[in-house]
Amino acid sequence: MTKPKALIITGYGINCEEETAKVFEMEGADSTIVHINDLIDGTKKMEDFQIMAFPGGFSYGDDTSSGNAMANKIKNNLNEEFLKFAREDKLIIGLCNGFQILVNLGLVPALNNAYGERTVALMHNTQARYECRWIHLKRASNKCIWTRDIEVIHVPIAHGEGNFYTDAETLKEIKSGDQIAFKYVREDGSPANNEFPFNPNGAMEDIAGICDPSGRILGMMPHPERFNCFVNEDGWPIQKEKLVREGKPLPKEGKGLKLFRNAVEYFTK
């Protein structure tokens, strides 16, 4: 079986491209980190790839609100190519700053397949502060390819602008289209109900991630790529101690890899 090819976009302050490329490789994809300008001048071609990832970071320093300037650069130079990729049977993920870019590009939620139309926003966190911590997510959508077989997952967040917001009508459509991919929850899986720190940014309805109508395109604030091995997880030493005392081996893998495995398996299974 040929490995699916993953296009990992970088440039202008994106900074999570290496770990994002690596987690796709760990799960069997063939990753290439590509500077956005190499797509613009045609050095690299999007059509050669099946998966596209917008990693986290600070594109353009978040200076004109997060994800906005990078989205404008793409719209002004590569709009047709991106919309074509989005409509094909391919996968796109945007993590943190990547989610902010996807939102500004209008690739999520893309209600009624209106790819390119911006309908939601990621505002400043309600506590008006950058926040780095571990939170729990619960899968909410049945159609999202990236979140298959995940119920509740522990992952880190690190952002200043993750407060999901939209108007009532759009929210209704996102819900009726089963496009809420992840919601912030408490450890036991019960709703965060907008309570800090379970919902770390004040996002409407505890929304942590949304997908497009097909479930192929996912944007989310948390960083599953940062939970790539057992020792990444907050609280791993107590789990280790328990396993050592029971004479059991330690797991190696981080549970965040599941999303990337789902993406690879979409093409290989």
Binding site: N15, D41, F230, V244
Partner: protein, 612 residues
């Protein structure tokens, strides 16, 4: 302080570099000129294109290229400013204005592309002294240079030539690039949105020449430029002052004493800062700034820079400025021992451990201050050679004094206490062996390793009591400590140590409280079990800052194995972790000395910065 937090937030977070750990330290001496230490650690392949990666050499004919940001008024005299007393005449423009994304763009282009394409022969960043230093330093590699200041890109026109030459505007690199490669280099930088400009040529003329508008404005002999400064002779002396010894009785309410000690700014939680720094970017977080269920600030961190290997990097620090008031030699020794044993406590090894020294002194034209400096430097030498831990980097700043006026308009001078930050950097072969500070389960046994002495001079506790600082500063017996640290490494390798934290500011009492908070468990402690010498007071035993000690917890099933391993060492089981969350310490008399619970400890631990 918020400005500092914002600065690290912008610089660290936007650069995509994890900030796994740090600390706050308060002292009235820092009111005039606060000190901020920020360090970065990078990784470099041993070889690049078959050549040793650290070798660089500008050659005659190479072009002088400036890369990144432009030159402006900011950062004129930045380096001299930071080494001078702050006065009413200090220039506001000395501070550089940062723009992390400009740096991120060129560092990606250099490290991830140009470097491996072998596009440059030498590279130096524009830090202190700007172009005047970076170009002149690189010119030493080939024997000369000629720069045309007209070519230097400016933030705005009409900057004086001398300002262009010395401005420390940030986010700039100087490179030496062979004329054959300049087109390829320039094209690559253009593609990455990075400004790069040829501003001159490296020569072998033996001279450093600077021109503007065709006119030569500087022409100096390279030898004079680099070695022309005559060596300054300074006289030092060191009179160790005898301080009054404290004269207060042990407080009747030791519970409240412990709780109030937890609120001290040098001991309290600063979680609100740790949360604002991205400590997980790059996907290699192992043990970060907040540990255990109770999220206690850690003094050491473990980061795994590469996915797919189990190797990790450990960082920690040691700093005891108040000790300088008693003896800078022992101050330095304590800082070194603390930085080292924090690495040992989290699972590191003396085999792969390096140090960094950052001196921030005051009034360094005063011979007594110089004497204190000499003593500290002597300790740095003595202890590093004993521990066999090399210094791999460091920096100094000698005039951290403020001269201004108080609110009545009277002249005032505020000097920092002689401050030495020792940072430690270790490698751990298997990160799954690293040890967090939080006790894991009820029933686990609490041990102390190492001896406690009457060493409360200039301690947090004496300051809390507003007492004289005393004279009994902690002293470090490195030979003895090494044997203990080696044994500790053995125990870690056997997964015997299930949590570890080493007493420092606030001593054993604070360490025990932090452990209970971190584990969200109760704790029963008997102080009479603590191996100690010359201490007959509970409060002294609790708050002595004696070095080279660990407080650890272990699985009760492994008690025999553990005690056999440490046979012959000064150590003792001093208590047990409990499920009920009661925190009880029995004093030397056998009576209950401290009676509280983990929730209350936690409340006080977080009280100081609660609303920040």
């Amino acid at each position: 302080m918020q400005g500092v937090v914002d600065g690290v937030n912008a610089g660290g977070n936007q650069s995509g570099i994890p900030t796994p750990q740090g600390f706050l330290y308060f002292n009235k001496g820092y009111k005039g000129k606060p000190l901020i230490f920020v360090g970065t650690i990078g990784l470099i392949p041993k070889e690049i294109n078959g050549k040793p990666s650290w070798e660089k050499k500008a050659v005659k004919g190479d072009l002088v290229v400036m890369l990144g940001g432009r030159v402006g008024q900011d950062g004129i005299h930045g380096a001299t400013f930071s080494s001078e007393a702050l006065t009413a005449g200090s220039p506001a423009t000395a501070v550089q204005i940062g723009d992390p994304i400009t740096q991120k763009k060129f560092s990606d282009a250099i490290v991830k592309e140009a470097r491996d394409l072998d596009l440059y022969n030498s590279i130096t960043d524009n830090g202190a002294g700007g172009l005047s230093c970076s170009v002149a330093e690189m010119a030493k590699e080939c024997g000369g240079c000629e720069v045309d200041l007209n070519l230097v890109p400016l933030k705005y026109p009409h900057l004086d030539p001398w300002k262009i030459w010395i401005s420390e505007s940030q986010e700039r690199m100087t490179l030496a690039i062979s004329p054959e490669k300049i087109d390829q280099f320039t094209k690559l930088m253009e593609k990455r949105g990075v400004e790069s400009t040829v501003i001159g040529t490296f020569t072998d003329s033996g001279r450093c020449i600077v021109k503007i508008n065709g006119e030569k404005i500087m022409d100096l002999d390279m030898d004079f430029l680099h070695d022309g400064l005559p060596r300054k002779t300074l006289i030092s002396s060191y009179t160790r002052e005898k301080h009054d010894e404290p004269n207060f009785d042990q407080p009747s309410d030791m519970t409240m004493t412990l709780l109030e000690m937890l609120t001290r700014p040098n001991i309290t939680s600063f979680e609100f800062i740790s949360r604002q720094y991205d400590h997980m970017v790059q996907g290699g977080a192992v043990l970060g700034p907040l540990q255990g269920k109770g999220k206690v600030n850690s003094v050491a961190s473990v980061t795994k820079p590469f996915m797919g290997t189990d190797k990790g990097v450990i960082c920690s620090q040691g700093l005891y400025p108040t000790y300088s008031n008693i003896d800078t030699y022992h101050m330095a020794a304590c800082s070194i021992d603390t930085a080292i044993r924090n690495v040992i406590a989290i699972g590191g090894t003396l085999d792969h451990l390096a140090l960094l020294d950052n001196f921030c002194w005051c009034s360094s034209n005063d011979k007594e201050r110089l004497g204190q400096l000499k003593a500290a430097a002597q300790a740095c030498y003595d202890y590093a050679t004993t521990y066999e831990t090399p210094y791999i980097s460091g920096k100094d700043s000698m005039f951290n004094d403020f001269q201004g006026f108080d609110k009545e308009g009277h002249p005032i001078k505020i000097s920092v206490p002689p401050t030495l930050l020792i940072s430690s950097l270790g490698v751990i072969k298997d990160v799954t062996k690293s040890v967090s500070l939080d006790p894991k389960f009820a029933g686990d046994l609490v041990y102390i390793l190492g001896e406690t002495f009457d060493e409360l001079g200039a301690s947090e506790y004496f300051d809390y009591q507003s007492s004289p600082i005393g004279n009994n500063i902690p002293k470090v017996n490195a030979e003895k400590a090494i044997v203990l640290y080696r044994k500790f490494e053995e125990a870690v390798a056997k997964n015997l140590i299930s949590s570890a934290l080493s007493p420092a500011h606030g001593g054993l009492g604070i360490t025990l409280a932090k452990k209970a908070i971190a584990g969200e468990l109760g704790m029963e402690i008997d102080l009479s079990k603590v191996p100690a010498k010359n201490i007959n007071r509970d409060d002294y035993l609790l708050f002595s800052e004696s070095q080279s000690r660990f407080v650890i917890t272990i699985d009760p099933k492994r008690k025999e194995e553990f005690e056999a391993l440490f046979n012959g060492f000064a150590f003792a089981q001093i208590g047990t972790m409990t499920a009920d969350r009661d925190f009880t310490i029995k004093g030397l008399s056998g009576k209950t000395l401290i009676q509280t619970d983990t929730e209350t400890l936690n409340k006080y631990y977080r009280k100081t910065f609660k609303d920040w």
